[in-house]
Symmetry: C2
Subunit: 209 residues, 2 copies
């Protein structure tokens, strides 16, 4: 949204249609599936949503921001049930994340907005808030559980604890994304198992130093 109005957006006048919001985001996802990123146009999204093109521009300043919002909700599907061991939790989240990247609307949109964000700090912040942080939560949660089980040591230093979490996050998410989108090969049960073995052994060694 365009500056969602910090405390009090606007009390008077006709309120914005929440139904239109959802219709636009849904139409944007559908358009991504059919047309992909480069051929997606604001006019097409407006037509699919049954709203005027001007309504889109009243809410989103650019195609980039619209697509980020449209795709962000999909990352809410990610969950991390307690499967009893760090190994099982990692294995599970890898497969979940891979399944998300198998969807055409996410696989084409995610890399495109990341590419744009290299030149647009505001867009990068939006991606961080609505997509990246939602994934990172899972890493932090899984790590906390593993520490409670005694599978991972509790780091005394706060700073190194944070950078370790960042490292784990980049390794997991990076490997799955690279496997799926660059190497273009499937993240199947076997790959997830091998990756999990590699990561867990690495974590044990990283903790020792």
């Amino acid at each position: 949204m365009l500056s969602p109005g910090h405390p009090e957006p606007a009390r008077t006048g006709r309120p914005r249609s929440a139904a239109a919001d959802e219709a636009i985001l849904e139409a944007c996802r559908a358009s991504l599936v059919d047309l992909g990123w480069s051929k997606l146009t604001m006019g097409d999204v407006a037509t699919r949503a049954g709203v005027a093109k001007t309504t889109l521009y009243r809410r989103w300043a650019s195609k980039n921001e619209l697509v980020v919002d449209a795709v962000a909700v999909l990352f809410d599907e990610l969950e991390l049930p307690d499967l009893g061991s760090l190994s099982a939790d990692v294995h599970n989240v890898v497969l979940q994340f891979a399944a998300l990247l198998d969807r055409p609307e996410t696989r084409t949109a995610l890399m495109a907005v990341v590419a744009e964000s290299t030149r647009d700090d505001a867009l990068r912040a939006r991606i961080r808030d609505s997509i990246v942080d939602r994934q990172k939560r899972l890493v932090l949660l899984g790590r906390r559980r593993a520490q409670q089980r005694g599978e991972l040591p509790v780091e005394p230093d706060e700073a190194t604890a944070a950078s370790t979490a960042d490292l784990i996050f980049d390794v997991i998410a990076g490997a799955v994304v690279h496997r799926t989108l660059v190497s273009a090969e499937p993240v199947d049960e076997d790959w997830a198992r091998r990756f999990t073995v590699l990561l867990l052994a690495g974590l044990g060694a990283a903790a020792a130093t």
Copy 2:
């Protein structure tokens, strides 16, 4: 290039200007730096290169393919000197790859063309041939050296050997790309060291299973 002419391209007539080729690719990289991916236009590249716009279309069918070729040569800079240990080799290649992704023309172009390739098989093949395989060579070389040093076991099965190499490649490249472009934090000496420790320990464990 557009179908580089398999054995004998064309013997007669005026030959294509090799100088124009290089001028176009150079202009494309410069335009990427100044404008980024989304605002880059074929007309702008042509103007910078001092050629007509039609000349671009005679050689590249689309902006995507032009950018892939323009960026591909940068990946030739990657080298893997024998530093005496697998640890040192991994550490070195991580920093090299990160330095490459620090350049504005690569960081914006790489993700953009990968995003487009999710809907274009021909583009994906081009990326694989001119970019991905050039990186993967380094992984295979480093692995071979480590096996000769006795740091890594020689896998008996050819198929598992290949999939192990793929796994390593996706972990290394994926983590560096994700750290640089998604998390948007620097791959410095300390990060490279921690990552190397994690990976090497993981490789040892993965080999044991």
